[in-house]
Symmetry: C2
């Protein structure tokens, strides 16, 4: 493409309403424009990126054996009533009426439609498994659309739905989708992690999220330095750093600790690190038959944070997790919360890491007093041990390989084992080996195609602009001729290189605009084209042009004789 004939819509100023970097750069590089809140037009330069992401997703979905379909954006209410979601779904489901006053919605997802199609098309278990996907426009009426493409209202999604005779078959396709997603995000050139995830409101029993790692991500991801292990921080298993506590070396000593209420106070008072201390939290238990609510103690190492989700699942603890008030604690223990420790007359859980402490400091169950040199068994019975904390950087990885690192992630994909949630509600059955109707088991698999574009920018940018991975850059290479309008030599060299690369199928942008070199350089860097060739009279005199990689530092001169092979090597590598 010639830049003079393309819509190069770069902006000098950062639009004031763009909060995150991807939104800022999508606007500044001229990739998208806002039409209304949460609605964006893809300009030519941006659409090239979106289409490249789509093409990779489509190729890999086809390779996996999935079949592409296309379902309507507008869906009738009746199938949503069958699944029960017409009532359940909040105002994010945009409900509309047609001219005959019949109810429809704009599809935020297509479980109902595909289940309706498939229950009519498939009859026999022999036709299973089948996996159908589409790359399609979705609508979700966000109450506060923001962050550009990260949380828009209309967006492009790849959604897939698989149908199975049994759980084993679902697991097989699920594993294929896991591998397919890994190939997709690898080909997209993104640093990502597949994260074992809690199932959201969509229902089902097993799921993974695929996150692109980026500072600006909304979720904390814990992953191993040495293996594929990755998990939402809330779900990652916390391991102790040793198998059992060291032997006691100090004597137990009670110390008056006036005005020490928090772990920080205790550390300052004793001049120790928080990892040498234990803290005791009090939560409410399940109400008993007489209507009494017992209290339950949770003991963690001083530097650790309670994980509510893990704690909630323990026997006897009330859901949702509720902390006891200071008054309730005082009434039950006779002690202020700041001085609580082991040996309370309450049901107690101790975190794995607190259970292997020795010679540690803890509350004395007496207001204004702490114990020093506490050792389990010798000074108090070890309570029931459980995993009740959030993992932290440096923890041992739960799979035994390497240690935990925590980074922020942007969710761009999600694979679910739906089970029979929709097929049961909508009576989607096939005949089994014995000729009996059997409800199909389903999986579903999403990728936020337009969100991937934003996430790629969040992960790949610098002060000059976007640094696209080559596979999804709008153009692979930019030719920037200097003074092309006046120098025949420059024009000829630029046109000849442009013609040759175009013929070779390289996606190349010739910046033939009548602009100053500085403007051209800034635009090409802002847009984020991975490879740049500058052609000017000075280097041409030495029979050379200048090459610069968007992500690397300095430009290098390349002889015209070697240019062909040089460019091929750069594009390949």
């Amino acid at each position: 493409m010639r830049a003079s004939q393309a819509l190069i819509a770069t902006l000098k100023e950062t639009p004031s309403d763009a909060e995150v970097i991807s939104h800022q750069l999508l606007l500044r590089a001229g990739l998208i424009r806002k039409l209304a809140s949460g609605l964006y037009t893809w300009l030519p330069m941006g659409l090239k990126v979106l289409r490249k992401v789509e093409a990779i997703v489509r190729e890999e979905m086809n390779r996996s054996g999935a079949q592409e379909v296309l379902m309507p954006v507008v869906q009738p209410a009746d199938i949503w009533e069958e699944s029960g979601r017409w009532q359940q779904y909040g105002p994010e489901l945009l409900r509309i009426h047609d001219r005959h006053n019949r109810e429809f919605c704009l599809g935020p997802t297509h479980e109902e439609v595909i289940t309706d199609v498939i229950r009519n098309e498939l009859n026999s278990y022999k036709q299973l498994p089948m996996n159908f996907y589409q790359i399609q426009t979705k609508f979700r009426d966000e109450i506060r659309p923001r962050f550009g493409l990260m949380r828009g209202r209309e967006f492009t999604m790849k959604d897939a739905y698989s149908f199975h005779a049994n759980q084993e078959s679902l697991q097989e396709t699920y594993d294929i989708m896991y591998a397919t997603y890994s190939r997709i995000f690898t080909r997209l050139g993104l640093d990502f992690r597949a994260v074992d995830a809690d199932t959201g409101s969509i229902g089902g029993s097993a799921s993974h999220e695929f996150h692109v790692l980026a500072e600006s991500g909304e979720d904390d991801i814990a992953f191993s330095t040495d293996s594929d292990f990755a998990s939402n921080i809330e779900k990652a298993e916390g391991l102790a750093d040793k198998d059992q506590a060291d032997a006691a070396t100090e004597a137990l000593e009670k110390v008056a600790t006036p005005d020490t209420h928090s772990i920080d106070d205790v550390c300052r008072f004793f001049n120790v690190d928080a990892i040498r201390t234990a803290k005791t939290l009090i939560v409410k238990g399940v109400e008993d038959a007489e209507g009494n609510t017992p209290l339950i103690a949770l003991i963690l190492r001083g530097d650790h944070e309670l994980n509510d989700i893990k704690a909630e699942k323990l026997t006897g603890i009330a859901e949702p997790l509720t902390f006891a008030t200071d008054a309730e604690i005082k009434a039950a223990t006779g002690c202020d919360i700041g001085s609580l420790g082991p040996n309370l007359q309450l049901q107690t859980y101790v975190d794995r890491s607190a259970a292997v402490l020795s010679d540690f400091i803890c509350g004395a169950n007496e207001s204004g007093a702490h114990l020093k040199g506490f050792n389990w068994q010798r000074d108090g019975e070890l309570p029931q041990v459980a995993d009740i904390r959030n993992v932290v950087e440096g923890d041992k990885s739960p799979d035994g390989k390497g240690t935990i690192t925590i980074k922020r992630g942007i969710e761009v994909g999600h694979i679910f084992q739906l089970g029979t949630k929709y097929s049961e509600a909508m009576n989607a059955t096939v005949l089994d080996e014995n000729g009996k109707a059997r409800t199909m088991t389903m999986g579903c698999y999403g990728i936020g195609v337009s969100r991937v574009v934003a996430a790629a920018i969040e992960q790949n940018h610098d002060e000059q602009g976007i640094c696209w991975p080559t596979s999804i850059a709008p153009y692979q290479l930019a030719i920037v001729p200097l003074n092309m309008q006046k120098s025949d030599a420059v024009r000829e060299a630029a046109e000849s290189l442009y013609a040759k690369l175009s013929e070779q199928g390289v996606d190349v942008l010739l910046d033939d605009r009548n602009e100053r070199p500085g403007v051209k350089f800034a635009d090409m860097e802002l847009i984020g084209i991975p490879h740049r060739i500058v052609i000017g009279d000075r280097s041409l005199k030495e029979n050379a042009v200048e090459y610069k990689n968007r992500k690397e530092g300095d430009a290098v001169n390349v002889s015209l004789d070697e240019l062909d092979g040089f460019i091929q090597a750069k594009l390949a590598g």
Copy 2:
């Protein structure tokens, strides 16, 4: 693709609610399924066709220099209020409210959105011309959706919008689009005509429709046997079959013609063909200053039909064209309508073809009498000559090349010169050479992408099903092994051919289903795959397989040694 792993969703029965052949075959071949009135899901086999159409459209639009964009389906009301169409557009525009009760619509077309984008992005006439297109989901809330994809509510459209500094530039791009559309429909393998068209409600000054010719088309197209001339029948110029009337050979004779009121009556009475007669029609003229409405006579050859649109444009005739009543005619002429002829004391127009009649029969302006052997000049003054009739088969083509043929057409594309209708209403200007703001001139160019799929079927089918043009067939070639489950030889030959063709990039379907040969043959013909190879034990014994072309008659045996070259030649041809 293996048929055993694909959704082959063919139906034996024709669904009762499908009125036209494309709708019937789209359902029977398993290409689409109805979700709700006017809303269809594309099944895998159908989507392959749609994507192939899209790919050809995209390639040719890119080749033309147009840039692809993607605009939202959901559009805010404010820009439609700016253009004035929020009020003008009927209930086909589906108006909706978001959760904040703001007004939006589902886009049936995108003039407003693109004009809004471009008025903000382009500043200078130097950036023009630019042409933007998208391939996107549209919604039109038809009151009575029908004919499947021919008149659905949600559909896929390619719409393009060009922006220009002046009319000459618009004409240049318009001509490029005309050529691009011709290339697109040629590559799609369709018999089509570009038709000079009246401009509809969208506004503007010049337009062409692209029609796929098919029996079931909604429009009558007149086109030349020997040139590119094509026109909606209402707009085609009617020429006389000779330059001037032949010399008179008969004497004028008045004949009593009781009970002859119509041209049929006259022909029967005189035992002549209608082309030897003239008929006189009386319409109302424009009301004069005194409030009187004059009557105007129109004389046509007996076999010709009046073209209202042409007549309406003549000086003195009232719009819309209104026929005088029998009583008004009697009052003005003293004669019944069935006996009117030349020489009335009224303003009169004569059609070109009636003006070159000689020795003809016409009314005598005296009830119950006709004239025989009438010749213009000798027997009455020739009135003003005009083109006031519909063209008929066999007419001379208006461009002087060949004769007129009339066929029915399905409109699949439309190119318009919009002018400044939207740019003026929405204040879309650029600075001209003198630094003055100047309203941009616009063109727009649509192709009904999903409609093309239906039109291709309307034009290409037989009793067995669809006969796809190769370029848009879901698969180019089907391999049908007979008794594959039991014969090792058949299975090996089929698998080996399948592997080889797949590797060569041929889009091939291996029908490895455990079905009877008759079922497989019927399905492959119904789906309309252009080339079929049957592999069975009998022919394999002779080292051969059987080839059949979907559109041709008989199958032929092809030796395995020659199969490679044979298939390549068939696919290329």
